[in-house]
Amino acid sequence: MIRSDILRELAPTIKGTLTVMNIGLPSQEMHMIDDQPSNFYMLGTMGLASSIGLGLALAQKEKVLVVDGDGSVLTNLGTLPTIANNVADNYVLLIIDNGSYGSTGDQPTYAGGKTKLEEVAKACGCENVVTCKAEDTVQAVKDALAGDKMTIIVAKCESGNIKVPVITMDPVVIRHRFMETIKERNA
């Protein structure tokens, strides 16, 4: 399974969940598979999906799912200590770990080498870290969203991409409809 297979399987489960999608292909794929106003698509700023999601989780009560990648987490590795030390039990970070920078042509990341992000997360102090195979991702996300504990999921999959169109929606529109959804949920 590659990342787009996981997202396709995951889409019905996370429909309506406040979801921050990682930059590049993950955002584009989710936008194509099942665009929802509850999805925040990152159009730039590699690495910050987990931080945006954490800020959102700390600021309001609804569950927040971040769909991130190994490359982006490595770009912003300082995020893991911040997550560990600011526990938000409405926060689920799904790291789809395909061992490559998918959006830029599948160059290998260090997560595909010696570095194990699940071990890094634990060493940073994250208390609830789940590692799963690609095909078990949906169940892991379901369990995490049903629970009341901050969870980091590292889902291992193969590298590879499908052809997807870029997102042409205006960033202010993406942000506005996302904020309106957040307001409704917290009303």
């Binding site: 700023t45 931080s51 300082g78």
Partner: protein, 165 residues
Amino acid sequence: MDINDKIIDAYVRNKVEFITTVPCKQLGGVIEKAEAHPDIYHIPSNKEDEGMGLCAGAFMGGKRSSIIMQNTAIGVTINTLVTLTQYYRMPLPMLISYRGELGEPVACQAEMAVHTKALLAQLNIPTYHFHKQADAEEFDKILQYTFMCNKPVAILTDASFWGGY
């Protein structure tokens, strides 16, 4: 009233409830007050771009946010300011220690100081410079302005403002 208290008071008056910080020697006092204030969630960041991500999320979650950092961070955060904060039109007051100005003992700090205002101008970021403590009277209005216009806004605070090193 202590200058750090004045700054924190203005934050609270303007309902800024989420503050992230990357420390600077000059900002030690205000960071301590942010940490201690019951109406402020203080979340230290490991890097300033990470902090801007946290602020973006908090803002979308309905909490006004701010970052407190050193001017060297302008060099770190240009991409984030442009592709996140400005592109999605989010307000972000940035309280910045302006190192490398008069009274600076560390020569290397002058290297970023000479680029600070030019970079902020290039990014079209409204920029205010606090040189004397009385300048902080405007902080309240600057916060109002930031949340009115949904832009990142820089408040540079130099060594003379903080009373030297």
